[in-house]
């Protein structure tokens, strides 16, 4: 018990360190003292100050919020669906957001992220609701396997339609290919302010689900025997996941792998109790995401590699190492 508390504290320090790195490092390194001045006595005339306030601060805050959201969403989904391979894309969130974004660009000629951010969120939410509805066909409601099948079905259908549209609408493709990579760059404080309320609500909801998730991970019959309202628990978990992953995807585009690996990482440290996995996931997510973002800034100057790519390139080998050392929950 003590060990986990001290590890949690260590993670908080690590997160603060990464936050500072995110603010200072980049194609144009800004010393820490300048960061402090920019935050406390902002002077629009000083270039370094503008870099901090207009570029790095929104980026860092988004990394913090989105990282936490994705980590928590993945953990919540893995617990609720009893599937260690679940991640937000399994519920069709990425496919739904992509579909609505593509529609928005094609039908309404939208070009600004701030405009199609709501479409992305709506698409993600509708796709998840669709998946839930399809999985509820028949008795017993949405069981884990049915959710996975429904998710795969809806994702397949939406992906096909998106491909068809992209192939026939070159201008849409030209915009979409940048959104679909997932990046923290190019988003200003407006975006942060738009998604912040959703992220906060989702995080609070997810953190409150610790006990419920521990119950859901057991056998259905055993859980019901212990008085768990499994249907309600799973619904709340789904709601938290939609809010978190939907808002995150809307803000920065689809970022794969964070939702999948962070819960496993957390579990390898804390053990199987979700009361602990959730806070650890909430801290590990932003650490991973912001670290990836910083790496992306430094690796190909003066350009950047988007964070969605770096997380896959760093996260996947790490995941493979975990698999080889048998640190993952067996099915």
């Amino acid at each position: 018990m003590d060990r986990r508390v001290s590890l949690l504290a260590a993670l908080v320090f690590a997160l603060m360190a990464v936050l500072l790195l995110s603010l200072t490092l980049g194609a144009r390194p800004v010393p820490l003292s300048m960061v402090w001045t920019a935050l406390t006595a902002f002077d629009p005339g000083v270039i370094d100050h503008t870099v901090i306030i207009d570029l790095r601060l929104p980026r860092t805050l988004l990394g913090l919020g989105v990282g936490a959201a994705l980590g928590l969403a993945g953990a919540v989904l893995q617990g609720a669906t009893r599937n260690p391979l679940a991640d937000p894309s399994i519920l069709g969130i990425h496919a739904g957001a992509s579909f609505f974004v593509v529609l928005g660009i094609t039908l309404f000629g939208l070009t600004d992220l701030r405009h199609y951010i709501w479409l992305a969120f709506a698409g993600a939410a509708l796709a998840t609701i669709g998946v839930y509805a399809v999985a509820s066909i028949g008795r017993d409601g949405p069981s884990p396997i049915k959710l996975a099948l429904a998710g795969a079905a809806i994702t397949a259908a939406l992906t096909s339609v998106v491909s068809a549209i992209l192939l026939t609408q070159p201008t849409t493709l030209d915009q979409f290919r940048f959104w679909q990579v997932g990046a923290l760059a190019g988003r200003d404080m407006d975006v942060v302010i738009q998604v912040a309320p959703f992220l906060l609500v989702g995080i609070v909801l997810a953190l409150a689900l610790g006990r419920t998730l521990d119950g859901l991970y057991m056998d259905e019959a055993v859980a019901k025997g212990l008085g768990q309202r499994t249907g309600l628990g799973r619904a709340m978990a789904g709601l938290a996941a939609i809010i978190l992953a939907g808002a995150a995807t809307a803000a920065v585009g689809p970022i794969a792998f964070v939702g999948l690996t962070v819960p496993h990482l957390a579990r390898s440290i804390t053990g199987p109790a979700y009361r602990w996995i959730l806070p650890f996931a909430m801290l590990l997510g932003p650490i991973l995401l912001l670290a990836a973002d910083v790496v992306g800034r430094l690796v190909a100057p003066p350009g950047e590699v988007q964070v969605g790519i770096v997380t896959a390139l760093i996260g996947a080998p790490f995941f493979i190492a975990l698999i080889r050392r048998r640190k993952l929950a067996e099915l």
């Binding site: 079905a153 491909s163 290919r177 679909q180 698999i323 080889r324």
Partner: protein, 351 residues
């Protein structure tokens, strides 16, 4: 006791014959459906070719009677396309069925171990960075698929290979490759991205000897290999221990079958791109038609070929003004199939 056993032996033989006759009937029906689909693929189009003319065109290399227009459409456009559809569909179907039987999971498919992403990443790289197309592109895609399969297997090897570990590592490798593709998409010119996207969705548009030749050769080698190994697959289905107890070389058979399945998927993907879901649906449909309980390798080939032909027919003729790539239709078909799976298994109480 001996007499009773003799009577029952006759009953056992009758049971066996009844079952194999049923299998033959289903196989012949599937063959007939394939023939009809093939004929439709040759007849339909912007220039409908009536059946007599079609036969004339097909036989014209032998008879020497030529109608240049019709002959061109039939022999140079529709015939290669239909043949490519049949061969690639059969390859995908067989590959998927092998994986599903080996992994004892009806939801398995060669995609999960990252082969399609391997071929795709290699193809996108070849198109965008190297500017290749045609045969070099297909070879590049093939190399990508095989290299990925090797990497996944090597990484999953630890005193033998557990299917679960292969799936997990396949997912990780697929993520890396998808990221590479997305990165290339942001760095390339739009026209290159379009070309790459067309390949990625999977289409039968560029059907010619360069695509058909290697695939046909591969099938000539791999299909008999699969059939030979399927004998041991019969007992491998009973679990490793029981299979070993019955005298099967478990690790060797599994390795051989995996190699065959991977090679089939790799060659098919190199020829037509990663056409979604054909590998996934062929096995379950074949099992549904034949009754489960034994590997359904040959029937899955037929189902795969029919699916590919049918999807391509829909892709070409369903929408009035546009021709869609076949991958879009198979994706939608796959979605419907998954929902059907959900409903039917739910009704049977399996979920």
């Amino acid at each position: 006791m001996a007499v009773t056993a003799l009577i029952d032996a006759g009953a056992i033989r009758q049971l066996r014959h009844h079952r194999s006759r049923h299998r033959l009937r289903v196989g012949l029906t599937l063959g007939a459906v394939l023939l009809v689909a093939f004929a439709l693929a040759m007849v339909l189009g912007d220039y409908p070719v009536p059946l007599p003319d079609l036969l004339g065109a097909l036989l014209s290399p032998l008879t020497g009677v030529a109608h240049p227009g019709i002959d061109f459409i039939v022999l140079n456009v529709r015939l290669p396309r239909a043949v490519l559809a049949v061969l690639s569909g059969a390859a995908f179907g067989l590959s998927g069925s092998i994986f599903q039987t080996l992994l004892r999971n009806p939801l398995a498919s060669p995609d999960i171990i990252g082969i399609s992403q391997g071929a795709s990443a290699a193809a996108v790289f070849c198109i965008i960075v190297l500017g290749w197309s045609g045969t070099p592109l297909a070879l590049g895609a093939l190399a990508g698929a095989l290299l990925t399969a090797l990497t996944v297997y090597a990484l999953a090897w630890r005193d033998g290979v557990s299917p679960y570990r292969v799936v997990l590592i396949g997912i990780a490798i697929a993520a890396i490759l998808s990221a590479c593709i997305a990165y290339l998409f942001t760095r390339a010119r739009l026209t290159q991205v379009q070309e790459a996207l067309t390949w990625l969705v999977g289409s039968l548009n560029a059907a010619g000897t360069t695509q058909i030749g290697p695939l046909a050769l591969a099938l000539v080698v791999l299909v008999p290999a699969a059939l030979l190994l399927s004998r041991a697959l019969f007992v491998l289905q009973l679990g490793d221990d029981t299979a070993r107890a019955l005298g099967a070389r478990v690790e060797l058979t599994r390795l051989g079958l995996m190699l065959t399945g991977v090679a089939l998927a790799a060659f098919a993907t190199a020829a037509v791109g990663p056409v979604a879901f054909v590998a996934f649906v062929a096995g379950p449909i074949a099992r549904q038609l034949l009754g489960a309980g034994r590997p359904v390798l040959l029937p899955a080939m037929l189902v795969g070929a029919i699916t590919m032909l049918g999807a391509d027919l829909l892709a070409q003729h369903a929408l009035p003004a546009t021709q869609l790539p076949v991958g879009v239709v198979t994706g939608l078909f796959g979605a419907l199939f998954l929902i059907w799976l959900l409903i039917s298994a739910n009704r049977a109480g399996n979920l």
